[in-house]
Symmetry: C2
Subunit: 168 residues, 2 copies
């Protein structure tokens, strides 16, 4: 397998996986493309490489920036915007964990709180079962939340400590 084939396959694979992470296929394909590009790319480059429309490219690049996975790069004397992926994969993983927590876990915890607040003492079998499930889920959710927070904080500390080393 040569570079061109491997690249194609990598983009394909990463795109499929993206579905599972909460990012859509195209978004992950753009991410993959930028990850393996040594240099920053323009919207046009991305359109051509992936054969997708300008609108699609624009929206998904913006989403990638919202996720903190891609950054805008401005070049001296050029008007076009260039895009560059965050290359530190640990940072990518942390970033994804952070965003997913924000988008999935946090809303779930809120929804559960709302639901469990609004039920009086249950005599009925059904109500008892319902309240039990709510409590149990809340327990798991809060534990997960704590664990993720710890991981994210650890990773952030590590990042800053690495950064400090550069200036020491």
């Amino acid at each position: 397998m040569n570079y061109v084939e491997a690249k194609k396959e990598f983009i394909q694979t990463w795109g499929t996986l993206g579905n599972h992470w909460g990012t859509n296929r195209t978004m992950s394909q753009i991410h993959a493309l930028l990850l393996i590009s040594p240099d920053a790319l323009t919207t046009e480059d991305i359109m051509n490489e992936l054969s997708i429309s300008r609108g699609n490219t624009n929206m998904n690049v913006r989403d990638l920036m919202d996720w903190g996975l891609v950054h805008k790069v401005l070049k001296q004397g050029e008007r076009k915007e260039y895009f560059q992926a965050e290359k530190d994969i640990w940072k990518v993983a942390t970033q994804v964990a952070k965003e997913r927590k924000k988008r999935e876990l946090d809303p779930m915890i809120k929804a559960l709180e709302k639901l469990s607040a609004l039920e009086g003492p249950g005599k009925d079998k059904k109500i008892k079962a319902f309240k039990n499930v709510l409590e149990d889920i809340q327990e798991v959710a809060k534990n997960t939340d704590k664990t993720l927070n710890t991981m994210i904080k650890a990773e952030e500390n590590w990042f800053w400590s690495q950064l400090l080393k550069v200036f020491k």
Copy 2:
């Protein structure tokens, strides 16, 4: 909010969340319904409660069984199949982690192995960048794999030790 409303909302919420877990909306709604039902339900019960077709119910219940989240229950002298959700939420969480690992992480690791095996020594900037990314991702993926395995095993041990207690 009364029981009926809370139930509706819980099913709704769980369904929305399901999208993020790799299970589809209906599948998670059925799961939610079974989670809060003190007793096992039939296909008909599920159809009526959620206003969905027989075919849809059947397929999604089967998927839930594939995920290990729901079990078939046979009742004395009854011909119908009843369905019951796994109620231990920690077990549910473990099960989901296990399945997602199988469906997402494992294929990714395989794909990466295939890709990184098939590249000779790279002189080109592009090829170097590509190989770097592959290596880094593999590192993260393998770490994640190890962590998940540890968690799953820990949970399984805990489960069996709990079970043993019952018979002691």
